[in-house]
């Protein structure tokens, strides 16, 4: 009886440890799609990509499938206030070849939208692309998209 109780306790403690470790790991690795990041006062709440942009810097035509001659837009929504928050967009092709990196340092006083865009005069090579968004150097979101003829 005592042996069974001891065994159950050890199993429970082990499970608790594994679950705790998993939770900690996910909070330390925010670089997956849909996750958000913060600096002292700013948080990235949403990232969209698409073919067009509205006047308030929102994506007008959301898509994850582009044509070679498209201008590709990313719109980064932030919440919060900061005197200097640095947003970086890194666009990569297939195996990670960097297509472009752009940085903007903003001083938001509330909800804001920051857009990044890229174009290539002779057309995008077909394939898989990835957009990574960084807030003050920390990865906060990724978006995958494709270019097809």
């Amino acid at each position: 009886m005592h042996t069974r109780l001891l065994g159950t306790s050890i199993l429970a403690l082990t499970l608790a440890g594994v679950l705790s470790g998993a939770c900690n790991k996910s909070s330390q690795n925010p670089g997956t799609t849909g996750t958000t990041g913060t600096d002292a006062g700013v948080r990235v709440s949403q990232v969209d990509v698409g073919r067009s942009l509205t006047a308030d810097k929102m994506i007008g035509d959301k898509t994850d499938s582009f044509k070679p001659n498209d201008m590709i837009y990313a719109s980064v929504a932030t919440e919060g206030t900061s005197s200097a928050a640095t947003l970086k967009a890194r666009w990569a092709y297939q195996d990670g070849q960097v297509v472009n990196e752009s940085t903007q340092t903003i001083a938001p006083t509330g909800d804001a939208r920051t857009e990044f865009h890229i174009s290539k005069a002779d057309g995008w090579p077909a394939g898989n692309y990835k957009l990574e968004v960084f807030l003050n150097g920390a990865p906060v979101s990724t978006k995958d998209f494709t270019v097809a003829r």
């Binding site: 308030d56 810097k57 932030t78 900061s82 005197s83 200097a84 928050a85 967009a89 666009w91 092709y93 070849q97 960097v98 297509v99 472009n100 752009s102 903007q104 340092t105 903003i106 001083a107 938001p108 006083t109 804001a112 939208r113 920051t114 857009e115 990044f116 865009h117 890229i118 174009s119 290539k120 005069a121 002779d122 090579p125």
Partner: protein
């Protein structure tokens, strides 16, 4: 012929050239002003009657012996550190 002796006629796969990619961006948030560093910054002081470099240094730095800092920053204006004139605009570094 061993595995490592094998020659491959296939040319290595070329990577696309992204050097002509154009990028841009904008935001609904104002752009942050770059923080200014105290080191290398300066302010302007206009000399008034009765001033000397050591008096200005005492007033600006709290140490009259730092007059040379002001002199060095204004060598293009000041020929003789004992002679400054009312109305001269002096740079006072690091204030």
């Amino acid at each position: 012929m061993g595995f490592f002796d094998r020659t491959d006629d296939k040319a290595p796969e070329s990577r696309p050239d992204f050097s002509n990619v154009r990028s841009g961006g904008s935001s609904t948030a104002p752009a942050a002003t770059q923080p200014t560093s105290t080191i290398g910054s300066s302010r302007t002081y206009i000399v008034v009657k009765g001033d000397s470099l050591s008096k200005i240094a005492k007033r600006e730095y709290g140490d009259a012996n730092k007059w040379r800092t002001i002199y060095e920053a204004n060598k293009d204006l000041i020929k003789d550190p004992d002679l400054i004139y009312p109305g001269q605009e002096l740079k006072v570094p690091g204030v």
